[in-house]
Protein backbone atom coordinates (compact mmCIF):
# COMPACT_ATOMS: atom_id res chain seq x y z
CA UNK A 1 0.00 0.00 0.00
CA UNK A 2 2.83 2.37 0.83
CA UNK A 3 5.43 0.87 -1.48
CA UNK A 4 8.32 3.10 -2.54
CA UNK A 5 7.37 3.22 -6.22
CA UNK A 6 3.97 4.64 -5.28
CA UNK A 7 5.65 7.46 -3.42
CA UNK A 8 7.88 8.10 -6.43
CA UNK A 9 4.85 8.34 -8.69
CA UNK A 10 3.19 10.59 -6.17
CA UNK A 11 6.10 12.98 -5.94
CA UNK A 12 6.25 13.21 -9.70
CA UNK A 13 2.67 14.45 -9.60
CA UNK A 14 3.35 16.59 -6.56
CA UNK A 15 3.56 19.98 -8.39
CA UNK A 16 -0.08 19.56 -9.51
CA UNK A 17 -1.06 18.72 -5.95
CA UNK A 18 0.73 21.82 -4.71
CA UNK A 19 -1.07 23.97 -7.28
CA UNK A 20 -4.34 22.53 -6.02
CA UNK A 21 -3.21 23.23 -2.47
CA UNK A 22 -2.73 26.92 -3.32
CA UNK A 23 -6.28 26.87 -4.69
CA UNK A 24 -7.49 25.49 -1.34
CA UNK A 25 -5.69 28.35 0.39
CA UNK A 26 -7.18 30.87 -2.05
CA UNK A 27 -10.75 29.62 -1.57
CA UNK A 28 -10.23 29.54 2.19
CA UNK A 29 -8.89 33.08 2.43
CA UNK A 30 -11.55 34.69 0.26
CA UNK A 31 -14.34 32.66 1.87
CA UNK A 32 -13.04 33.68 5.29
CA UNK A 33 -13.14 37.36 4.31
CA UNK A 34 -16.72 36.99 3.06
CA UNK A 35 -17.71 35.01 6.16
CA UNK A 36 -16.22 37.67 8.44
CA UNK A 37 -18.06 40.48 6.68
CA UNK A 38 -21.38 38.61 6.77
CA UNK A 39 -20.72 37.42 10.32
CA UNK A 40 -20.15 40.92 11.69
CA UNK A 41 -23.10 42.44 9.81
CA UNK A 42 -25.53 39.70 10.83
CA UNK A 43 -24.06 39.48 14.32
CA UNK A 44 -24.79 43.17 14.83
CA UNK A 45 -28.27 42.67 13.38
CA UNK A 46 -28.95 39.93 15.91
CA UNK A 47 -28.34 42.29 18.85
CA UNK A 48 -30.15 45.25 17.32
CA UNK A 49 -33.38 46.57 18.79
CA UNK A 50 -35.25 46.28 15.49
CA UNK A 51 -37.41 43.16 15.34
CA UNK A 52 -37.17 43.09 11.55
CA UNK A 53 -33.37 43.02 11.57
CA UNK A 54 -33.34 40.33 14.25
CA UNK A 55 -35.84 38.28 12.25
CA UNK A 56 -33.73 38.57 9.08
CA UNK A 57 -30.71 37.38 11.03
CA UNK A 58 -32.62 34.41 12.49
CA UNK A 59 -33.86 33.33 9.07
CA UNK A 60 -30.34 33.55 7.62
CA UNK A 61 -28.74 31.64 10.48
CA UNK A 62 -31.35 28.90 10.72
CA UNK A 63 -31.69 28.40 6.96
CA UNK A 64 -27.96 28.14 6.44
CA UNK A 65 -27.01 26.19 9.56
CA UNK A 66 -29.69 23.53 9.21
CA UNK A 67 -29.12 22.58 5.59
CA UNK A 68 -25.96 20.72 4.51
CA UNK A 69 -23.26 22.87 2.94
CA UNK A 70 -22.96 20.35 0.12
CA UNK A 71 -26.60 20.92 -0.82
CA UNK A 72 -25.98 24.67 -0.96
CA UNK A 73 -22.95 24.07 -3.15
CA UNK A 74 -24.95 21.78 -5.45
CA UNK A 75 -27.65 24.41 -5.80
CA UNK A 76 -25.06 26.90 -7.02
CA UNK A 77 -23.36 24.28 -9.17
CA UNK A 78 -26.34 22.56 -10.75
CA UNK A 79 -29.35 24.82 -10.39
CA UNK A 80 -28.00 28.32 -10.86
CA UNK A 81 -26.81 27.64 -14.45
CA UNK A 82 -30.40 26.69 -15.31
CA UNK A 83 -31.53 30.20 -14.47
CA UNK A 84 -28.61 31.78 -16.28
CA UNK A 85 -26.15 32.26 -13.41
CA UNK A 86 -22.90 30.56 -14.34
CA UNK A 87 -20.17 30.64 -11.70
CA UNK A 88 -16.75 29.01 -11.71
CA UNK A 89 -16.20 26.33 -9.07
CA UNK A 90 -13.70 28.66 -7.42
CA UNK A 91 -16.35 31.36 -7.01
CA UNK A 92 -18.95 28.82 -5.90
CA UNK A 93 -16.53 27.69 -3.22
CA UNK A 94 -15.87 31.22 -2.01
CA UNK A 95 -19.54 32.26 -2.01
CA UNK A 96 -21.13 29.07 -0.65
CA UNK A 97 -18.54 28.46 2.04
CA UNK A 98 -18.42 32.17 2.88
CA UNK A 99 -22.19 32.34 3.35
CA UNK A 100 -22.24 29.08 5.32
CA UNK A 101 -19.55 30.07 7.79
CA UNK A 102 -20.89 33.64 7.88
CA UNK A 103 -23.90 32.19 9.68
CA UNK A 104 -21.68 30.48 12.25
CA UNK A 105 -19.53 33.58 12.72
CA UNK A 106 -22.61 35.75 13.21
CA UNK A 107 -23.56 33.46 16.11
CA UNK A 108 -20.06 33.83 17.51
CA UNK A 109 -20.27 37.63 17.24
CA UNK A 110 -23.74 37.60 18.79
CA UNK A 111 -22.68 35.60 21.82
CA UNK A 112 -19.59 37.78 22.20
CA UNK A 113 -21.60 41.00 22.20
CA UNK A 114 -24.36 39.66 24.43
CA UNK A 115 -21.77 38.65 27.03
CA UNK A 116 -20.97 42.34 27.59
CA UNK A 117 -22.94 43.66 30.57
CA UNK A 118 -25.88 45.94 29.77
CA UNK A 119 -24.24 48.67 31.87
CA UNK A 120 -21.55 49.13 29.24
CA UNK A 121 -24.14 50.03 26.62
CA UNK A 122 -25.87 52.38 29.05
CA UNK A 123 -22.59 54.00 30.09
CA UNK A 124 -21.62 54.59 26.46
CA UNK A 125 -25.03 56.05 25.73
CA UNK A 126 -24.88 58.32 28.75
CA UNK A 127 -21.56 59.64 27.50
CA UNK A 128 -23.20 60.65 24.24
CA UNK A 129 -21.64 57.93 22.06
CA UNK A 130 -23.41 57.19 18.80
CA UNK A 131 -24.33 53.60 17.92
CA UNK A 132 -21.28 53.13 15.74
CA UNK A 133 -18.99 54.71 18.36
CA UNK A 134 -20.50 52.55 21.10
CA UNK A 135 -19.96 49.39 19.12
CA UNK A 136 -16.51 50.17 17.75
CA UNK A 137 -14.99 51.92 20.78
CA UNK A 138 -16.70 50.31 23.77
CA UNK A 139 -18.40 47.01 23.03
CA UNK A 140 -16.36 45.28 20.33
CA UNK A 141 -12.95 45.86 22.00
CA UNK A 142 -14.30 44.08 25.08
CA UNK A 143 -16.16 41.40 23.14
CA UNK A 144 -13.16 40.61 20.95
CA UNK A 145 -11.46 38.44 23.56
CA UNK A 146 -14.59 36.31 23.73
CA UNK A 147 -15.08 36.29 19.98
CA UNK A 148 -11.53 35.44 18.94
CA UNK A 149 -11.13 31.83 20.17
CA UNK A 150 -14.29 30.43 18.54
CA UNK A 151 -13.48 32.52 15.48
CA UNK A 152 -10.16 30.73 15.08
CA UNK A 153 -12.01 27.42 15.40
CA UNK A 154 -14.42 28.55 12.69
CA UNK A 155 -11.52 29.45 10.42
CA UNK A 156 -10.13 25.94 10.82
CA UNK A 157 -13.56 24.42 10.11
CA UNK A 158 -13.85 26.60 7.04
CA UNK A 159 -10.57 25.29 5.66
CA UNK A 160 -11.68 21.71 6.28
CA UNK A 161 -14.99 22.40 4.55
CA UNK A 162 -13.28 23.58 1.37
CA UNK A 163 -12.59 19.87 0.81
CA UNK A 164 -16.19 19.33 -0.28
CA UNK A 165 -15.47 21.32 -3.42
CA UNK A 166 -13.86 18.07 -4.58
CA UNK A 167 -17.37 16.69 -5.03
CA UNK A 168 -18.15 19.30 -7.69
CA UNK A 169 -14.76 19.00 -9.43
CA UNK A 170 -13.48 22.08 -7.63
CA UNK A 171 -9.83 21.50 -8.53
CA UNK A 172 -8.58 22.07 -4.99
CA UNK A 173 -6.42 19.83 -2.81
CA UNK A 174 -9.01 17.14 -2.11
CA UNK A 175 -9.99 16.99 -5.77
CA UNK A 176 -6.41 16.71 -6.96
CA UNK A 177 -5.77 14.03 -4.36
CA UNK A 178 -8.82 12.03 -5.44
CA UNK A 179 -8.01 12.26 -9.10
CA UNK A 180 -4.41 11.18 -8.54
CA UNK A 181 -5.58 8.32 -6.31
CA UNK A 182 -8.28 7.17 -8.73
CA UNK A 183 -6.17 7.36 -11.85
CA UNK A 184 -3.18 5.50 -10.37
CA UNK A 185 -4.89 3.59 -7.53
CA UNK A 186 -1.96 4.63 -5.31
CA UNK A 187 -4.25 5.69 -2.51
CA UNK A 188 -1.83 5.54 0.40
CA UNK A 189 0.59 8.40 -0.37
CA UNK A 190 -2.14 10.60 -1.81
CA UNK A 191 -4.38 10.59 1.26
CA UNK A 192 -1.58 10.66 3.80
CA UNK A 193 0.03 13.72 2.24
CA UNK A 194 -3.34 15.45 1.83
CA UNK A 195 -4.02 14.86 5.52
CA UNK A 196 -0.65 16.38 6.38
CA UNK A 197 -1.27 19.42 4.18
CA UNK A 198 -4.69 20.08 5.73
CA UNK A 199 -3.16 19.56 9.17
CA UNK A 200 -0.48 22.17 8.44
CA UNK A 201 -3.19 24.72 7.69
CA UNK A 202 -5.61 23.89 10.51
CA UNK A 203 -3.35 22.96 13.41
CA UNK A 204 -1.93 26.49 13.98
CA UNK A 205 -5.47 27.87 14.00
CA UNK A 206 -6.75 25.43 16.57
CA UNK A 207 -3.63 26.00 18.69
CA UNK A 208 -4.25 29.73 18.41
CA UNK A 209 -7.82 29.21 19.59
CA UNK A 210 -6.62 27.31 22.64
CA UNK A 211 -3.92 29.87 23.38
CA UNK A 212 -6.34 32.81 23.19
CA UNK A 213 -8.82 30.96 25.35
CA UNK A 214 -6.30 30.22 28.09
CA UNK A 215 -4.81 33.70 28.00
CA UNK A 216 -8.24 35.19 28.39
CA UNK A 217 -8.76 33.11 31.53
CA UNK A 218 -5.46 34.36 32.96
CA UNK A 219 -6.03 38.00 32.11
CA UNK A 220 -9.43 37.93 33.69
CA UNK A 221 -8.07 36.39 36.87
CA UNK A 222 -5.34 38.98 37.08
CA UNK A 223 -7.80 41.80 36.76
CA UNK A 224 -9.89 40.28 39.50
CA UNK A 225 -6.85 40.02 41.71
CA UNK A 226 -6.08 43.66 41.11
CA UNK A 227 -9.49 44.93 42.03
CA UNK A 228 -10.02 42.46 44.80
CA UNK A 229 -7.02 42.33 47.11
CA UNK A 230 -8.88 40.39 49.78
CA UNK A 231 -9.09 37.11 47.92
CA UNK A 232 -10.95 34.30 49.57
CA UNK A 233 -9.85 30.73 49.45
CA UNK A 234 -12.55 30.02 46.89
CA UNK A 235 -11.16 32.67 44.57
CA UNK A 236 -7.73 31.12 44.91
CA UNK A 237 -9.16 27.78 43.96
CA UNK A 238 -10.98 29.21 40.97
CA UNK A 239 -7.83 30.93 39.87
CA UNK A 240 -5.92 27.68 39.88
CA UNK A 241 -8.70 25.87 38.09
CA UNK A 242 -8.93 28.52 35.39
CA UNK A 243 -5.19 28.70 34.98
CA UNK A 244 -4.93 24.94 34.61
CA UNK A 245 -7.88 24.13 32.44
CA UNK A 246 -8.53 27.33 30.57
CA UNK A 247 -12.13 27.96 29.73
CA UNK A 248 -13.50 25.33 27.45
CA UNK A 249 -14.22 26.19 23.83
CA UNK A 250 -16.65 23.35 23.54
CA UNK A 251 -19.72 25.15 22.42
CA UNK A 252 -18.23 27.14 19.65
CA UNK A 253 -15.73 24.55 18.60
CA UNK A 254 -18.23 21.80 18.08
CA UNK A 255 -20.42 23.47 15.51
CA UNK A 256 -19.76 23.70 11.82
Amino acid sequence: MFAAFKWEAYFEAFPTILMAFTKTIGISLLALVLALILGVIFGLMSVSRSTVLRAINRVYVEMIQNVPLLLQVFVMYAVFPLIGIKLSTFLIGVIAIGIYHGAYISEVVRSGISSIPEGQFEAAKSQGFSYIQTMSLVILPQAISIIMPPLAVQAANLIKNTSIMALVAGGELMYATNSFANSTSYYGPAYVVAAILYFILCFPLSRLALHLEQNRGRRRVKRKEYYNPAMTEFDEDMKNAVAEEGVSTWESSSRG
Binding site: L71, Y191, S248
Partner: protein
Protein backbone atom coordinates in the same frame (compact mmCIF):
# COMPACT_ATOMS: atom_id res chain seq x y z
CA UNK B 1 -45.11 19.15 -10.87
CA UNK B 2 -47.80 16.54 -10.27
CA UNK B 3 -45.80 13.72 -11.76
CA UNK B 4 -42.81 14.68 -9.61
CA UNK B 5 -44.36 14.42 -6.17
CA UNK B 6 -45.80 10.95 -6.63
CA UNK B 7 -45.85 8.54 -3.74
CA UNK B 8 -43.13 6.49 -5.42
CA UNK B 9 -40.75 9.44 -5.52
CA UNK B 10 -41.54 10.56 -1.99
CA UNK B 11 -41.05 7.03 -0.73
CA UNK B 12 -37.76 6.85 -2.64
CA UNK B 13 -36.56 9.96 -0.83
CA UNK B 14 -37.86 8.85 2.56
CA UNK B 15 -35.89 5.61 2.27
CA UNK B 16 -32.82 7.75 1.71
CA UNK B 17 -33.73 9.75 4.78
CA UNK B 18 -33.97 6.58 6.84
CA UNK B 19 -30.48 5.57 5.74
CA UNK B 20 -29.18 9.06 6.57
CA UNK B 21 -30.63 8.81 10.07
CA UNK B 22 -29.42 5.23 10.49
CA UNK B 23 -25.82 6.06 9.59
CA UNK B 24 -25.82 9.24 11.69
CA UNK B 25 -27.41 7.60 14.71
CA UNK B 26 -24.99 4.68 14.84
CA UNK B 27 -22.01 6.95 14.28
CA UNK B 28 -23.14 9.38 16.96
CA UNK B 29 -23.73 6.63 19.53
CA UNK B 30 -20.40 4.94 18.84
CA UNK B 31 -18.54 8.23 18.89
CA UNK B 32 -20.13 9.16 22.22
CA UNK B 33 -18.64 5.99 23.69
CA UNK B 34 -15.20 6.49 22.12
CA UNK B 35 -15.35 10.21 22.89
CA UNK B 36 -15.92 9.47 26.57
CA UNK B 37 -12.97 7.12 26.60
CA UNK B 38 -10.82 9.76 24.88
CA UNK B 39 -11.91 12.47 27.33
CA UNK B 40 -11.10 10.28 30.32
CA UNK B 41 -7.76 9.31 28.78
CA UNK B 42 -6.97 12.94 28.18
CA UNK B 43 -7.71 13.84 31.79
CA UNK B 44 -5.87 10.86 33.22
CA UNK B 45 -2.63 11.29 35.14
CA UNK B 46 -0.99 8.66 32.99
CA UNK B 47 0.96 10.76 30.52
CA UNK B 48 1.08 8.06 27.83
CA UNK B 49 -2.70 7.69 27.78
CA UNK B 50 -3.25 11.42 27.71
CA UNK B 51 -0.67 11.86 24.94
CA UNK B 52 -2.39 9.21 22.80
CA UNK B 53 -5.75 10.89 23.26
CA UNK B 54 -4.30 14.33 22.51
CA UNK B 55 -2.61 13.17 19.31
CA UNK B 56 -5.78 11.38 18.19
CA UNK B 57 -7.95 14.42 18.81
CA UNK B 58 -5.54 16.84 17.14
CA UNK B 59 -5.20 14.70 14.04
CA UNK B 60 -8.91 14.35 13.45
CA UNK B 61 -9.79 17.87 14.53
CA UNK B 62 -7.45 19.34 11.92
CA UNK B 63 -8.19 17.25 8.85
CA UNK B 64 -11.38 17.06 6.79
CA UNK B 65 -13.94 14.31 7.24
CA UNK B 66 -14.20 13.73 3.50
CA UNK B 67 -10.57 12.66 3.48
CA UNK B 68 -11.22 9.99 6.10
CA UNK B 69 -14.25 8.69 4.25
CA UNK B 70 -12.07 8.20 1.18
CA UNK B 71 -9.21 6.85 3.25
CA UNK B 72 -11.28 4.15 4.90
CA UNK B 73 -13.15 3.24 1.74
CA UNK B 74 -10.10 2.92 -0.50
CA UNK B 75 -7.32 1.92 1.89
CA UNK B 76 -9.04 -0.08 4.61
CA UNK B 77 -11.44 -1.29 1.90
CA UNK B 78 -14.59 -1.86 3.91
CA UNK B 79 -17.91 -2.01 2.06
CA UNK B 80 -19.57 1.42 1.58
CA UNK B 81 -21.90 1.63 4.57
CA UNK B 82 -19.45 0.21 7.13
CA UNK B 83 -16.80 2.57 5.69
CA UNK B 84 -19.14 5.47 6.21
CA UNK B 85 -19.98 4.48 9.77
CA UNK B 86 -16.31 3.86 10.56
CA UNK B 87 -15.17 7.18 9.08
CA UNK B 88 -17.89 9.17 10.83
CA UNK B 89 -17.23 7.40 14.13
CA UNK B 90 -13.48 7.89 14.02
CA UNK B 91 -13.85 11.52 13.04
CA UNK B 92 -16.74 12.52 15.31
CA UNK B 93 -15.17 10.78 18.32
CA UNK B 94 -12.48 13.46 18.35
CA UNK B 95 -15.04 16.28 18.56
CA UNK B 96 -17.12 14.40 21.10
CA UNK B 97 -13.97 13.79 23.14
CA UNK B 98 -13.23 17.52 23.20
CA UNK B 99 -16.78 18.38 24.18
CA UNK B 100 -16.84 15.80 26.98
CA UNK B 101 -13.43 16.89 28.23
CA UNK B 102 -14.68 20.47 28.30
CA UNK B 103 -17.79 19.41 30.18
CA UNK B 104 -15.79 17.53 32.80
CA UNK B 105 -13.33 20.41 33.16
CA UNK B 106 -16.27 22.75 33.76
CA UNK B 107 -17.24 20.87 36.93
CA UNK B 108 -15.66 22.64 39.89
CA UNK B 109 -12.79 20.69 41.40
CA UNK B 110 -14.36 21.01 44.84
CA UNK B 111 -16.97 18.56 43.58
CA UNK B 112 -14.28 15.96 42.95
CA UNK B 113 -12.89 16.52 46.43
CA UNK B 114 -16.37 16.31 47.93
CA UNK B 115 -16.97 13.07 46.07
CA UNK B 116 -13.80 11.55 47.49
CA UNK B 117 -14.43 12.85 50.99
CA UNK B 118 -17.87 11.21 51.01
CA UNK B 119 -16.38 7.83 50.20
CA UNK B 120 -17.73 7.47 46.67
CA UNK B 121 -15.77 5.12 44.49
CA UNK B 122 -14.41 6.60 41.27
CA UNK B 123 -17.14 5.10 39.13
CA UNK B 124 -19.96 5.95 41.55
CA UNK B 125 -18.66 9.47 41.96
CA UNK B 126 -18.34 10.07 38.26
CA UNK B 127 -21.81 8.70 37.65
CA UNK B 128 -23.78 10.28 40.50
CA UNK B 129 -21.94 13.55 41.07
CA UNK B 130 -19.82 14.60 38.13
CA UNK B 131 -21.87 13.31 35.19
CA UNK B 132 -25.12 15.20 35.96
CA UNK B 133 -23.25 18.49 36.32
CA UNK B 134 -21.07 17.90 33.28
CA UNK B 135 -24.16 17.01 31.24
CA UNK B 136 -25.55 20.47 31.81
CA UNK B 137 -22.47 21.90 30.13
CA UNK B 138 -22.24 19.33 27.38
CA UNK B 139 -25.70 18.58 26.04
CA UNK B 140 -26.08 21.65 23.80
CA UNK B 141 -22.67 21.06 22.24
CA UNK B 142 -23.33 17.34 21.81
CA UNK B 143 -26.61 18.09 20.03
CA UNK B 144 -24.85 20.61 17.78
CA UNK B 145 -22.32 17.96 16.92
CA UNK B 146 -25.15 15.59 16.08
CA UNK B 147 -26.56 18.20 13.68
CA UNK B 148 -23.16 18.54 12.03
CA UNK B 149 -22.92 14.77 11.64
CA UNK B 150 -26.35 14.52 10.02
CA UNK B 151 -25.50 17.30 7.59
CA UNK B 152 -22.15 15.75 6.77
CA UNK B 153 -23.70 12.42 5.76
CA UNK B 154 -24.71 14.30 2.61
CA UNK B 155 -21.13 13.73 1.35
CA UNK B 156 -21.71 10.02 1.13
CA UNK B 157 -23.42 9.86 -2.26
CA UNK B 158 -20.83 11.82 -4.17
CA UNK B 159 -17.94 10.32 -2.24
CA UNK B 160 -18.72 6.60 -2.11
CA UNK B 161 -22.14 6.21 -3.75
CA UNK B 162 -24.26 5.47 -0.71
CA UNK B 163 -27.89 6.26 -1.50
CA UNK B 164 -28.70 8.44 1.49
CA UNK B 165 -31.11 11.36 1.28
CA UNK B 166 -28.80 13.57 -0.76
CA UNK B 167 -27.98 10.69 -3.10
CA UNK B 168 -31.61 9.83 -3.66
CA UNK B 169 -32.29 13.47 -4.42
CA UNK B 170 -29.49 13.54 -6.99
CA UNK B 171 -30.75 10.34 -8.60
CA UNK B 172 -34.22 11.82 -8.97
CA UNK B 173 -32.76 15.07 -10.23
CA UNK B 174 -30.88 13.32 -13.01
CA UNK B 175 -34.16 12.01 -14.41
CA UNK B 176 -35.63 15.49 -14.64
CA UNK B 177 -35.03 18.22 -17.12
CA UNK B 178 -37.40 21.02 -16.29
CA UNK B 179 -35.96 23.79 -14.14
CA UNK B 180 -38.93 24.11 -11.75
CA UNK B 181 -38.81 20.38 -11.05
CA UNK B 182 -35.10 20.49 -10.28
CA UNK B 183 -35.72 23.42 -7.96
CA UNK B 184 -38.50 21.47 -6.30
CA UNK B 185 -36.34 18.41 -5.72
CA UNK B 186 -33.55 20.44 -4.15
CA UNK B 187 -36.12 22.28 -2.08
CA UNK B 188 -37.66 19.04 -0.84
CA UNK B 189 -34.32 17.44 0.05
CA UNK B 190 -33.29 20.66 1.79
CA UNK B 191 -36.58 20.70 3.66
CA UNK B 192 -36.05 17.16 4.98
CA UNK B 193 -32.61 18.08 6.29
CA UNK B 194 -33.95 21.33 7.66
CA UNK B 195 -36.77 19.69 9.60
CA UNK B 196 -34.45 17.27 11.38
CA UNK B 197 -31.65 19.72 12.05
CA UNK B 198 -33.95 22.55 13.03
CA UNK B 199 -35.77 20.31 15.50
CA UNK B 200 -32.44 19.41 17.07
CA UNK B 201 -31.31 23.02 17.19
CA UNK B 202 -34.58 23.97 18.88
CA UNK B 203 -33.67 21.26 21.37
CA UNK B 204 -30.32 22.96 21.94
CA UNK B 205 -32.00 26.30 22.54
CA UNK B 206 -34.63 24.80 24.86
CA UNK B 207 -32.02 22.99 26.91
CA UNK B 208 -29.88 26.11 27.24
CA UNK B 209 -32.83 28.12 28.46
CA UNK B 210 -34.06 25.48 30.85
CA UNK B 211 -30.74 24.69 32.45
CA UNK B 212 -29.09 28.09 32.35
CA UNK B 213 -27.15 28.56 35.56
CA UNK B 214 -27.98 31.79 37.33
CA UNK B 215 -25.24 34.38 37.04
CA UNK B 216 -23.70 32.79 33.98
CA UNK B 217 -23.32 35.08 31.03
CA UNK B 218 -22.88 34.33 27.39
CA UNK B 219 -24.17 30.81 26.98
Amino acid sequence: MGELFTWINIKFLLEGLVLTIFISAISILLSLVIGTVLALMRRSHNSILSAIATVYIEIFKNTPLLLWIMFIFFIVQLPPIPSAVAAFTVFTSASMGEIIRGGLAGVHRGQYEAMRSQGFSRIQGYWYIIQPQAMRNMVPALLSQAITTIKDTSFLWSAIAIQELMGRGMILMNQLNSTPQIFAIFGLVGLFYFIICFALSMGVRYYQKKYRLPGRVGL
